[in-house]
């Protein structure tokens, strides 16, 4: 199935080559979980701070292992920021 992945800010470096700067449509196995997708892109837990599925925040406390993605989902990931 196909899902969209958006990696923002300092996470852009994890995207495979492509014409769009921060978004890719990717092919994944049916039944893939959020965490499996994040690991597939070698993003550490510390970096994958803010995870959104179709624009909805998946709280850090929610088990991302159990969140199964479906065809057409858009996963957006933002890193933590504390500077100023």
């Amino acid at each position: 199935m196909n899902v969209n992945i958006e990696l923002y800010a300092s996470l852009m470096k994890y995207l495979p080559p492509g014409k769009h700067r921060f978004r890719r449509e990717i092919r994944v196995d049916d039944g893939i979980t959020l965490n499996q997708l994040i690991r597939q892109y070698h993003i550490s837990d510390a970096e994958a701070h803010l995870v959104l599925v179709n624009g909805h925040f998946v709280n850090c406390g929610e088990p991302r292992d159990q969140r199964v993605l479906v065809e057409g989902d858009t996963v957006s990931i933002w890193p933590p920021v504390a500077g100023g």
């Binding site: 923002y8 800010a9 959104l52 925040f57 709280n59 406390g61 920021v81 504390a82 100023g84």
Partner: protein, 251 residues
């Protein structure tokens, strides 16, 4: 509000979202600003220009030449001065009617709590998780609204805590320090990016003081300058939040 105030703030009084009553609330308000750096510079300057009654500036640092690229409250001749004193000079020049109080050391413990309690609103313009957690905790404990901004590299985030609305707090978003501490010194930062976030803090502060916080409850804004994207996210209150949530009593 006298005629001089009405003239000076006419353009924002004209806005239905502010009006004379909103401007009066701004004129009567005290804001505590934690950090007079990249975020605190534009935030303090817009609040002073917008007529806030009193600003309390808190920062223990001195101005360095490497600050000047983004910390626009500090001029070239301020290098070596305390940031709070340099900031006060700029703010007083911008608007002599704005009362500015300075605290040139790091507020901690009960002194921080009392400073937060004395303010109508707090702006977290600091640069590290431990300070952010302590400021958030003091705001939760005293039910004081908080506008929290953060920026580094080419990215930034902004959210606010509205106790009267039962909103999420900063630690609902960051229950713990994530990853290694990153600094602008090591990672770099584009000046206007912190300017955008600090300016947004001023926008939210003025609107909150004028009683317009409804649309901002539980909203987190994320900014990526390189992608030229803003993303607005609903940030739910975390029942397990270490600062405002259910396990708080267990601490």
């Amino acid at each position: 509000m006298n005629q001089s105030d009405k003239d000076r703030y006419a353009r924002q009084i004209r806005l239905p979202a502010i009006g004379e009553s909103g401007q009066q609330s701004i004129l009567d308000a005290t804001a505590l600003i934690i950090g007079v750096g990249g975020l605190g510079s534009p935030a303090a300057m817009y609040l002073a220009a917008g007529g806030i009654g009193k600003l309390v500036l808190c920062d223990y640092d001195v101005v360095e030449s490497s600050n000047l690229q983004r910390q626009i409250i500090h001029a070239d001749d301020a290098v070596g001065d305390d940031k709070v004193e340099s900031g006060k000079r700029t703010l007083t020049a911008l608007n002599p009617d704005c009362q500015v109080e300075t605290i040139g050391y790091q507020l901690e413990g009960s002194e921080l709590v009392e400073a937060v309690r004395a303010a109508d609103i707090v702006l977290d313009c600091s640069d590290n998780f431990p300070t952010r957690f302590e400021v958030n905790r003091a705001c939760v404990d005293t039910a004081t609204p908080l506008v929290s901004g953060a920026a580094i590299r080419l990215e930034g985030q902004i959210m606010n805590y509205q106790p009267a609305a039962g909103s999420a707090c900063y630690q609902c978003l960051y229950p713990r320090a994530f990853g290694a501490e990153e600094s602008c010194e090591l990672e770099g930062v584009l000046g206007p990016v912190v300017g955008v976030i600090g300016t947004m803090q001023a926008v939210q502060t003025l609107l909150l003081l004028a009683g317009q916080g409804e649309e901002m409850v539980n909203r987190l804004l994320l900014f990526d300058a390189l992608a030229m994207q803003w993303q607005g996210v609903t940030l739910p209150k975390n029942p397990n939040c270490p600062a405002c949530g259910g396990d708080r009593q267990a601490r």
